[in-house]
Amino acid sequence: MSPAATGRTGAEAPAPPATMREALNRALDEALAEDPATLVFGEDVGRLGGVFRVTDGLQQRYGEHRVFDTPLAEAAIAGMAVGLAMNGWRPVPELQFDGFAYPALDQIVNQIARMNYRSRGRAPMPVTVRVPSFGGIRAPEHHGESLEAVFAHVPGLKVAAPSDAPDAYRMLLQSIRSDDPVVFLEPKARYWDRGPGPSGPEAPGPEAPGELPVGASRVVRSGRHATLVAWGAMVHRCLRAAELAAEDGVDLEVVDLRWLKPIDAAGLAESVRRTRRAVVVHEAPLTAGLGGEVSALITEGAFSRLAAPVQRVAGFDVPYPAGPLEPQYLPTLDRILSAVQRTFGA
């Protein structure tokens, strides 16, 4: 670990736990410090420090050559990452919002994800594409989208979606250090939260990065009666649902999927073989969402133990709506608890 990084995370007076924004910022800081090939770029990530301040202070610290603003051109941002990687750099581009990842999709799918394959391993793509993602912040159109199903379908990509600050820190460092391309989906709605989610186990701090391998899920609440599976901001909501269910004597396990590609099929099966019931929860529209994949994986891995079909609670098959309708679009606690009830045949 670099002196710069240790200087900020070491044995000083105990600081309050970082928000997710701060945790991500620290991970970027450390990645820039430990490997001079690391580059951070995108729209407004430099002078402004990013619209969510995730890159705050990095340009001042590492200079305009390592952390820089690009023109407003998502395809070029993703495309230049390919050339930079082919020239020995470790690019960490940001796409400013989920909905604006679409213009970059051709470069991500047809180029970044395939260059290692196309070149038979000669041109690896150690690229981490950061995308502030998901909804819940009453934002304008295209600022609340969930693209994980699209990215998870792409051969050659890995896809991460942390749910709390310490894990965001660890997973981002792990992603940047990986020699494979990672699309890193940051739950905007959790940017301002500190520490792990409510009732979550005290996760290890930033000092212990990467102890879970790429692709590992984690049980953030153990339970006996049914398993809730979620990622990003919905993990928090599932933990809340579990608290409410507990008041009624229903003991829910909550699995934070964390990696949306590769998916921890074994971990899912293990949990559901125990609980015999599962509900998968996501913000993206239901149809062809990642919930279908999770449902299929659980059914394949735990069929003989399943007491009820896996339930899916997802956004509706409608374009992500504006302000007042947002809470009616996103999975509510009621919908999650109803789905749990359905697994009990109610």
Binding site: P103, R138, P140, D317, V318, R335
Partner: protein
Amino acid sequence: MLTRKPPDARSDDSGAKEPAMSAEGEGGPDPRSRPRLPADLHRRLYRTMLTARLLDTEAVALQRQGVFPAYVSLRGQEAAQVGSAAAMDPQRDFAFPTYREMAVALTLGVDMVGYMASHRALWHGGLYDPMASRFAPINAVVGGPVPHAVGWALGEKLAGRTGCAVSYFGDGASSEGDVHEAMNLAGVMGAPVVFVCQNNRWALSVPNEGQIAGGSVAARAAGYGMPGTAVDGNDLAAVYTAVREALERARSGGGPSLVEALTYRAAPHSTSDDTSRYRDPREEREWAERDPLPRARAALEAAGRADAAFFDRAEAECRAEAERIRDGVSTAPEPPGSDLFTHVFREPTAELARQRRIWQEEVA
């Protein structure tokens, strides 16, 4: 071998980057000071600019009060928006806006409560009727609506009609691939479209220098075989005249043109933005001196077209109008949750009906 030199961004034929102050703002005997707008129109557009300014100010206040979750101010761009929109024929033409064209909407007579509803997050695209208003739904994808304008214009040409599309976009948008594809398409097809780039110097935190290779959006037009014009975007008459010429050309079969209105985003990018992180307040002060609103007023005065009584009445009436819109949007009812499902398809599906039932039972 023939080498093209990069254009001098400040030279005459690529569009002055420092907008030459129009003489209008200064009065005086310079022949260029003669008003280039008919008097009636001049007065009318001044009032539209004033209403836009007052409504913009109300909107910022509404955001502070928590009525709007966020707002994008057009302060400083009133001449560029009102001047360009006033050149349109609202019976025949059609505007394709971004998210910052409030004064265009106002000029075209869009239902402004419905327009501002988008900022109250009642409905992303706004609650006005885009087809009747000839003003497309508010569009938040930078560069995204530019090919729509070309398609609409081409449709007009195919139908043998004489309407023109006006495509609004910013300096930042000029970097997007969609804008290039759209301009090339328009050139190849001879589509009757006017591309109006409001170059307000900033794309969020990135200034022109970090955005526009070569320094001029107007200069790009030559590469598409179309006329490109850079105008002082804070000069109402200059913008109006440039866009009107471009529309006349398009209407008479002369194909597309590009007008770059050099202006300034006087406010932060949005109410969530903090300009102190990236721009020098001196720049803001400099541009405040070129504020298009006082300039339009000075031009009216210099031409003897308006007196104190006119300005007093304008102030009162425009303020009343801005307040009416403010009150209207503040009290507009929230759309019912069932609207989530109503407009997804014209021909409904069983699956969406099923989801609507879930919503009805478990959410509503």
